[in-house]
């Protein structure tokens, strides 16, 4: 161990100028003595991760916390990897600065990661029986496959009033949601229930018929998860919480860990409970975040976790936390800092009866080295998106050609929805591509329309079902699926018809012949398609066979093609794991030949294909947040934690809307096991807050230049402008300090 002075001396020696690499607020956080929890409220660009990374090393070296007693979590795997890397680099800096004791600090012994990763690791290491060899439902689509597989009772719920109660259908709707929407909604309901760690007995005791129906459906879901050794992300946390309550968990926990949590503003109630439990009687809990950047209410997060942290500390630990505010923004041009300060002082964010923002929070102070006299907040404000898009392209090209940026990836286009349709951002993405400016838009939900993707899916469909005979399916397919399938099969047939892929054509024909003549034993209850040697043929096996043929084999080596084909491969793997392991059941046709059984085909079409036919994102690189060499188009949610030299905020006409998210908060709150805020605002006001926070994040990503871009209609931009100013035309915007282009 070293004393604080030695640590600070060494820390100063890590900087080329010999000065502490921390400002006064950051140093205050570092020097916190941990008799109380630390409540670090850090605005955008104020160096919270930088501070936390030094803080962890100080906790080990100065305060004597063993490395294996440190739990340090953040929001994404990417951020966690960066955090661990930063800790390793900082430790080395201290060693190089002559602090030999730092050599004894073993970063890899710390529990650094996402909370999910931490839960998995501890439960695995502790061999917690309910989670041994448990398999994660990795994403929303897989969870939906699971709910379909288990035939959850909510899928049969035709009661419009039930769905309307949670704002999952309009109250006056004549119809309940269709099967796909019920599946999505069921997942949403179950996730929120787990994230709120609801008291099921209390919900049942309420006698409310809708809640009874919901708890029954939820219990079936939980029971099927357990039977099939599956978990969703929220249930993994619930398992961990339950483990901590066992004797083994109590032994592992002992008197608690030193817990540091980044991005605390996006914590949900069960996570809050976990963090306080992990801190245990040591009560050594540091939370860090920015309430103004809370974006994940729709995933069950509650900004109240951060805003009301002092009250939660009283409830859980009987202590008052020390609040430290990081307010020096070293990221953005002063005019951008001014803009975001003005913006967050929004009428929707003020309420004398409720804490809408963290108490005592100061304004951001501009501290960046970027401080030229140019207009850093600009606007491309036009009468149509097409004209605005054209101007945007010219500006990006000028910035690149004139050397103001080195790489297109220094520019980001941020918006609410990155779907490339006319109601969203198609005018912009189309214009950029036409101008020859490379674009990266992994969340366009367009992967399913890629010709390579379609052809591969079409090939698979042609193998299983040569004539697409929908009449023999046990039930009609969802509305748009048949046409999507026809498109896919056409894409495949078009490849064949070029005459350039005779191997592929021969493989298809030979395989169809093999299915027709497949072994079939009528005495068996079920017959599956087998290869020579008796191994089952699987969907994935067929997919890889197709990928071995041209043109797919060449597509696989191309960055865009490879990732699109991977998207299909990954969804198929998740589907297979739930539906017969991808094995293909056979039946005998009236004419005597073998063919794939109707239910196998039905599930393939109505569950698997239905799951992505109307939108599928590309897989995203685990290592890189930003694709080099391209203008990155992102949702505002996706841009969280990132920064760009130039940010275009597209179509700032987003209006607040009350959704199922807000309804669910209110419906589940009475049954949630959490420390509750004194008051809660109306759903309308919470929706308005969400919009303000969303645009606060978007604006605060910009370093050099922020450009509001879109078609201006009177009144449409008001909600996302400082002071909610009523803007009728470009001049009104100019009056707010926006430089018009």
């Amino acid at each position: 161990m070293v004393d604080l002075e030695q640590f600070l001396d060494a820390l100063a020696r890590t900087s080329p100028d010999g000065k502490l690499p921390l400002n006064a607020d950051q140093q205050l956080a570092l020097e916190h003595d941990y008799t109380n929890p630390l409540w670090m409220i850090a605005g955008p660009g104020t160096g919270k991760t930088h501070t936390l990374a030094w803080l962890v090393l100080k906790r080990v070296l100065v305060d004597g916390v063993p490395a294996n007693h440190i739990v340090f979590t953040t929001f994404t795997r990417k951020a966690a990897a960066e955090l661990e890397s930063r800790l390793i680099v900082n430790r080395q800096k201290l060693i190089d600065a002559g602090l030999a004791e730092a050599e004894e600090v073993e970063i890899s012994e710390m529990l650094v990661g996402t909370l999910h990763g931490l839960c998995s690791r501890v439960l695995r290491d502790q061999r917690y029986e309910p989670t041994l060899h448990i398999r994660m439902l990795e994403d929303e689509l897989t969870q939906q496959f699971f709910v379909r597989r288990i035939r959850n009772p909510l899928l049969n719920c035709d009661d419009v009033a039930f769905w309307a109660r949670f704002r999952m259908v309009r109250a006056n709707s004549p119809y309940p949601p269709n099967l796909a929407a019920r599946t999505t909604n069921a997942c949403k309901l179950f996730n929120r229930m787990t994230e709120n760690n609801v008291d099921l007995a209390a919900m049942r005791a309420s006698g409310d018929m809708h809640l009874l129906m919901l708890t029954d459906a939820y219990s079936q879901y939980q029971s099927k998860l357990s039977d099939s050794r599956r978990t969703d992300q929220a249930h993994l946390q619930l398992h961990f919480l339950e483990f901590l309550g066992t004797t083994a968990g109590q032994t592992w926990l002992a008197d608690g860990f030193t817990v540091l949590v980044d991005e605390y503003q996006d914590t949900n109630p069960i996570q809050e409970q976990l963090y306080f439990t992990l801190a245990g009687s040591r009560a050594d809990l540091t939370v860090c975040g920015d309430d103004d950047q809370s974006l994940y209410r729709f995933r069950g997060a509650t900004v109240e976790s951060l805003i009301e942290f002092d009250r939660a500390c009283q409830v859980h630990l009987g202590r008052t936390p020390t609040a430290v505010y990081l307010s020096e923004n070293r990221r953005s041009h002063p005019a951008i800092v001014q803009w975001v300060n003005d913006f967050i002082d929004h009428p929707e964010m003020r309420d004398p009866s409720v804490r809408v923002r963290a108490p005592g929070k100061p304004k951001l102070l501009a501290g960046s080295i970027i401080n030229g006299m140019y207009p850093a907040v600009a606007g491309i404000v036009e009468t149509s998106d097409q004209v605005a898009a054209s101007k945007l392209c010219v500006l990006i090209q000028d910035l690149k050609d004139d050397g103001l940026i080195d790489d297109y990836s220094q520019v980001a286009l941020l918006t609410f929805s990155t779907r490339e349709v006319s109601q969203a951002i198609a005018p912009y993405s189309d214009a950029l591509r036409t101008a020859g400016i490379p674009v990266h838009n992994p969340r366009s939900r367009m992967a399913q329309l890629d010709p390579r993707f379609l052809a591969l899916l079409g090939g698979l469909s042609c193998l299983l079902d040569p004539n697409l005979d929908l009449s023999r399916l046990p039930s009609p397919l969802p509305t748009d699926v048949p046409q999507y399938l026809r498109n896919a099969r056409s894409a495949f047939r078009n490849l064949i018809s070029t005459g350039n892929h005779s191997d592929l054509e021969r493989y298809l024909q030979d395989s169809l012949d093999a299915i027709e003549n497949a072994r079939f034993d009528p005495s068996l209850p079920r017959n599956f398609l087998l290869r020579g040697g008796g191994r089952h043929v699987t969907l994935s096996g067929l997919l890889y066979k197709l990928l071995g043929h041209e043109p797919f084999a060449t597509d696989l080596a191309d960055a865009a093609g490879g990732e699109r084909l991977k998207a299909l491969n990954l969804v198929l793997a998740e589907y297979e794991s739930l539906f017969d392991h991808g094995e293909l059941r056979l039946e005998v046709a009236p004419t005597g030949e073998r063919r794939i059984a109707p239910w196998t085909l039905y599930n393939f079409y109505a569950v698997f294909v239905e799951g992505f036919h109307d939108g599928l994102n590309d897989p995203e690189d685990e290592d890189a947040s930003v694709e080099p060499g391209k203008v990155n188009v992102m949702t505002i949610h996706q841009s969280k934690g990132l920064e760009f030299e130039v940010v275009f905020v597209l179509r700032p006409d987003k209006q607040p809307f009350v959704s199922d998210t807000h309804a669910l908060e209110d419906e589940l709150d009475p049954f949630s096991r959490r420390s509750k805020p004194v008051n809660r605002r109306s759903q309308d006001l919470r929706a308005a807050e969400d919009t303000v926070r969303l645009f606060f994040v978007a604006y605060s990503r910009a370093k050099h230049l922020l450009v509001l871009t879109g078609k201006l209609e009177p009144g449409k931009w008001d909600r996302v402008l400082p002071g909610a100013t009523h803007v009728r035309n470009a001049n009104d915007l100019s009056a707010l300090g926006v430089h018009l282009l």
């Binding site: 890899s108 448990i134 099939s228 140019y374 080195d406 490879g562 990954l570 392991h581 282009l741």
Partner: protein, 324 residues
């Protein structure tokens, strides 16, 4: 004057590139040996994240590991070894978990029976000398290290068993001490031939663990022991009622003593492989993770879904043209 000119003339400062270092984690089996076996297979499945069905092939090894781990945990609370019915029940429980988690073994009944037989014989022959010395199972070793070019990375490893002086208790034919610490690793198959790639890889894995253990504790483990449970399967002597432990040790256990020079050589190779993997990451997509120029073991290719079109496996062309 364009807006761009306006910016430049009014103090636009050239953006500086942020140089964040990403430090990756590497494990011996999951990364280094997988890459050395076939860089294409490693890159496509482990790095790019394509889904592979090879998990089903791990059924038997996982089953054996899980049961032995369970036996150890029970032993720590009640130091007796399970009898045959108890063992069969443990195997069944472990099997159920694997099946429910989606692992789909081929002919699982035969594999369960084999697992019960192998573990039962191991417990009978070695168990009483082994389990009292077990200190930890699934022992995590991890360290932040540097390659020869000063690149930082984190080395991850899990040793099946960290034990006291089992070899001493077994009265093996080399010098042992009752304070020895040993690292043991279970292999569910038969002992590979001397000089084979498989055995070389197993040794390599243990050399790396020895280095990790040194980094963590300041000294090498006294010895590394590989247990080839598959050797107990159809041994005629056992069937004939021969339960003399000494007769089986030779084939069942592969023991070696970590030597500084050998370990250092393994670590040098490890570092070089980390550099090769990192170099692949920097290449353009189309040039990344190409089929290796060295010969790939046929069983590696036969288990690989990419074999239908791969320069390392010419027979894949014929397989590709076969139906289904």
């Amino acid at each position: 004057m364009s807006f761009s000119d306006d910016l430049r003339n009014n103090g636009w400062s050239k953006p500086t590139q942020k140089n964040e270092t990403l430090i990756r984690r590497f494990s011996t089996t999951g990364d280094i040996l997988a890459f050395k076996r076939c860089q294409r297979q490693y890159g496509v499945f482990s790095v790019r994240g394509f889904s592979s069905a090879t998990a089903t092939q791990r059924y038997f090894g996982t089953l054996v590991h899980d049961v032995l781990d369970q036996v150890h945990r029970q032993y720590t609370t009640n130091p007796t070894l399970p009898d045959q019915p108890e063992l069969a029940a443990l195997v069944q429980q472990a099997h159920d978990r694997l099946i429910r988690s989606g692992i789909r073994p081929y002919n699982s009944r035969a594999q369960r029976e084999l697992a019960t037989k192998l573990i039962g014989r191991f417990l009978e022959l070695i168990g009483p000398h082994f389990f009292p010395h077990v200190q930890q199972t699934e022992y995590h070793l991890q360290r932040a290290l540097r390659t020869h070019t000063n690149r930082q990375y984190v080395l991850d490893g899990i040793v099946d068993v960290l034990s006291g002086a089992v070899a001493h208790d077994l009265e093996l034919s080399f010098s042992t001490d009752e304070d020895d610490v040993e690292i043991w690793d279970y292999k569910s198959g038969r002992r590979p031939d001397k000089g084979s790639v498989e055995l070389r890889d197993y040794e390599y894995q243990m050399q790396v663990y020895a280095e990790l253990y040194l980094q963590q504790t300041g000294e090498y483990p006294a010895r590394a022991v590989l247990v080839f449970l598959g050797e107990l399967g159809d041994d005629q002597r056992y069937k004939d009622g021969n339960k003399r432990r000494g007769d089986y040790i030779q084939s069942l256990l592969y023991v070696f003593h970590p030597q500084r020079k050998v370990v250092e050589k393994a670590m040098q190779d490890f570092h070089e492989t980390v550099e090769l993997i990192e170099a692949e990451h920097t290449k353009p997509y189309a040039d990344q993770w190409l089929p290796p120029t060295h010969t790939v073991e046929p069983q590696t290719c036969e288990a690989c879904e990419l074999r239908y079109k791969c320069a390392s496996f010419p027979a894949g062309g014929k397989q590709r043209s076969e139906p289904l």
